[in-house]
């Protein structure tokens, strides 16, 4: 067991998979010599050499396109998009190419690759470098979408993503990079499509992802201490495949559900989860499902404004408290 930062876990996760399989290659902007703009890929060039860890030009379409061509013909590429906001300039590959090749060729084209990207707010980077774009990816049939909240999950879910035969969008949260956590020694391989109950509770279920997971846990502790409300926090971890059984079972025990989403409100991932729960667990619900999101605005840069916009521990706790009527 060692204590690692989320950032160090990224490099260890990539190294673990590159060590295991010579077909795993890694490309992106400033990832090799510079070790990544978030310093999350330091040391990989030295360990695996310039043929496997390759700097690219600022060409997001070329990065994602080349990753696909390599994946279809036998490699297992890892492609980095520096900020998840930049997915917008190469969205074709996610929306039209990775996700549809297999289906429309009747199973002939395979696309086993991982796109890693730094997602989310809290770093005061302003509206074009802070977005939570998991819902952009989640809405496309054929993609898998993963967002870890702890260093151990970074390694385990990353390994599962690299080994997965489908294209996986791996959303690292840039505000979690400095966060430390215990990581077991040796190889770590987790499983996609398995949500985790990270804090058991009986009064309400809080579904959260990435940076919102530690905030939801903190809010749950606050609710317990201040109001005796015992919340169960579920780390969703993987939006596709989606572990609805863990969530539905939790709601069947607690009878109330809240989502904590960093994305702007409209069509956030929580909307889909709430819709499934409202449908399948309707008669388990003892009150309305409630979504706690960033308002439907671009994220501002100033720390005061950005903190106001993103779901905070206090806002989560207060929303749950008010909704449960305590």
């Amino acid at each position: 067991m060692a204590e690692l930062t989320y950032r160090e876990a990224v490099a260890r996760g990539i190294a673990q998979e590159m060590q295991r399989d010579p077909d795993v290659v890694f490309l992106g902007e400033d990832i090799a010599k510079a070790g990544g703009v978030f310093k999350a890929t330091v040391g990989l060039l030295e360990q695996f050499g310039p043929l496997r860890v390759r700097d690219t030009p600022i060409s997001e379409q070329a990065i994602l396109g080349a990753a696909m061509g390599a994946a279809m013909t036998g490699l297992k590429p890892i492609a980095e998009i520096m900020f998840s906001d930049f997915i917008a300039v190469c969205f074709d590959y996610l929306a039209n190419q990775y996700s549809k090749g297999r289906y429309m060729t009747n199973g002939q084209v395979k696309c086993p690759l991982v796109v890693r990207t730094a997602n989310g707010g809290g770093a005061r980077f302003g509206a074009q470098h802070s977005q939570s774009v998991e819902n952009w990816c989640m809405m496309i049939p054929g993609l898998k979408v993963v967002a870890p909240s702890t260093p151990a999950d970074v390694i385990g879910l990353f390994a599962a993503s690299v080994r997965d035969p489908d294209p996986v969008i791996f959303l690292e949260h840039k505000s979690l990079y400095p966060v430390k956590g215990e990581v077991p020694d040796g190889e770590i391989v987790d499983e996609l499509g398995v949500a985790k109950i990270v804090r058991p509770g009986s009064d309400a279920t809080i579904l959260a992802l990435a940076l919102m997971v530690p905030r939801a846990i903190a809010a749950a502790e606050k609710l317990k201490a201040g109001h005796g409300i015992d919340c169960e926090v579920v780390d969703v971890r993987s939006l596709v495949p989606l572990d609805t059984q863990t969530m539905l079972a939790s709601v069947a025990r607690t009878h109330r559900v809240f989502t904590v989403e960093e994305n702007p409100r409209l069509c956030g991932w929580g909307a889909e989860l709430v819709s499934i729960i409202a449908d399948e667990a309707f008669y388990d619900l003892d009150g309305p499902p409630v979504r706690i999101t960033t308002p439907h605005i671009p994220l501002p840069s100033s720390e005061v404004l950005e903190d106001l916009a993103m779901p905070s521990v206090d806002r989560i706790a207060e929303t749950v408290r008010r909704s449960l009527g305590s």
Binding site: V25, L51, R52, R54, T56, P57, S59, Q61, A62, I63, L64, G65, A66, A67, M68, G69, A70, A71, M72, T73, G74, L75, P77, D92, Y93, N96, Q97, G101, R102, Y103, M104, T105, N106, G107, Q108, V109, K110, P112, P141, G142, K144, D164, P165, D166, G193, V240, P241, L242, D243, T244, Q245, I276
Partner: protein, 348 residues
């Protein structure tokens, strides 16, 4: 203007015209047969569309057969092709059976993709035909990736990427070209300049005179323009570019001057063309006719060529009969192959 450009094509080509004797008689018969097949199969696709048996859209490449035939004939088995939605000919040229292609256009269960892809996505991995891409330019970086894999693994196959003149104005083209050059990838980019992007003449919307070759120097590549109606020139140019790629010499960009006889897609009557342009190309510049006359002049007998023509027609007729008899795809494939496990389950 267009007339001007095609008239100057041969003159502006910087490739040496090949003395015919350099290509073997067998190869030249093969090139003739292939062009005839592409022509007749495409013509049949159009006829089936007129009979309402081909649904949706389709983008024909009647008139552009020499490009597809010449580049394909110069490939080795295992070489990879990527093309656009105007891809029936490129698919057939890699050896994909005609009934599979026509069946796919007709949305039948015998189709190459069992009706799940359609005209714009013809793909046959077993033939090295890695796909037809319907988002303009998307496949240029993808082709780079396939070539990167060969380079990384030390494999000897090369990748050939076909696209139209319109593609040269989209970002992915420029990103892909730069990428291929800096990584020195074994990829050959083939621009089929048929003078029109979709409905608009390419010259009206492009900063340089030659949409592909005019950009080559920006990426440190030699500007190459060839007569795309002459299968011998296409073949020898292709061969040289493949040899260079295979031996580690990096990418090549080739602009082929050609012409499409039909509109952009089935919905386009192509009224925007100047009067007489189509007649001129069909009459003077038709690749199949040019090649047939060249072979006759070289001493191949009329009966040999007529036998090839008849055999091609017989195969087209057989393929058509197979497709007409084929059932539509079964409902259960609606949700197969979304994910690698064969299914579509996004939740448990």
């Amino acid at each position: 203007m267009n007339r001007d450009r095609e008239g100057a094509a041969t003159a502006r080509s910087n490739q040496q015209p090949m003395p015919p004797s350099q290509l073997s008689p067998d190869l030249r018969l093969r090139l003739y047969r292939l062009q005839t097949e592409l022509r007749e199969a495409e013509q049949r696709a159009y006829d089936l569309f007129l009979q309402n048996l081909v649904k949706g859209t389709s983008h024909l490449s009647l008139g552009q057969e020499a490009v597809a035939a010449g580049f394909a004939a110069a490939m080795e088995p295992g070489d990879l092709t990527f093309c656009t939605y105007r891809g029936h000919a490129h698919t057939l040229a890699r050896g994909v059976p005609m009934d599979k292609v026509l069946g796919e256009l007709m949305g039948r269960d015998n189709g190459l993709l069992r009706g799940k892809g359609g005209s714009m996505h013809l793909t046959s991995v077993e033939h090295g035909h890695m796909g037809s891409y319907a988002i303009v330019g998307a496949h240029i970086p993808i082709a780079c990736g396939a070539a990167w894999r060969a380079q990384y693994k030390g494999e000897k196959d090369i990748t050939v990427c076909f696209f139209g003149d319109g593609t040269t104005n989209i970002g992915a083209f420029h990103e892909g070209l730069n990428f291929a050059v800096i990584w020195k990838l074994p990829v050959v980019f083939v621009c089929e300049n048929n003078l029109y992007m979709e409905y608009t003449p390419i010259g009206e919307v492009t900063a340089v005179k030659d949409p592909a070759a005019g950009r080559a120097s920006a990426y440190g590549l030699e500007p190459i323009i060839i007569d795309g109606q002459d299968a011998d020139i296409v073949y020898t140019t292709a061969k040289a570019a493949y040899d260079k790629a295979r031996s580690g010499g990096g990418p090549t960009l080739i602009e082929c001057l050609t012409y499409r006889y039909s509109g952009h897609s089935r919905a386009d009557p192509a009224k925007y063309r100047p009067a007489g342009e189509l007649d001129h190309w069909k009459g003077q510049r038709d690749p199949v006719r040019i090649y047939r006359e060249r072979l006759l002049a070289a001493g191949v007998s009329e009966s040999t060529l007529a036998a090839i023509d008849a055999e091609v027609m017989r195969r087209v007729d057989e393929a058509t009969a197979i497709c007409k008899a084929a059932p539509p795809p079964p409902a259960e494939i609606l949700t197969t192959d979304v994910y690698a496990d064969g299914g579509w389950a996004w939740r448990n």
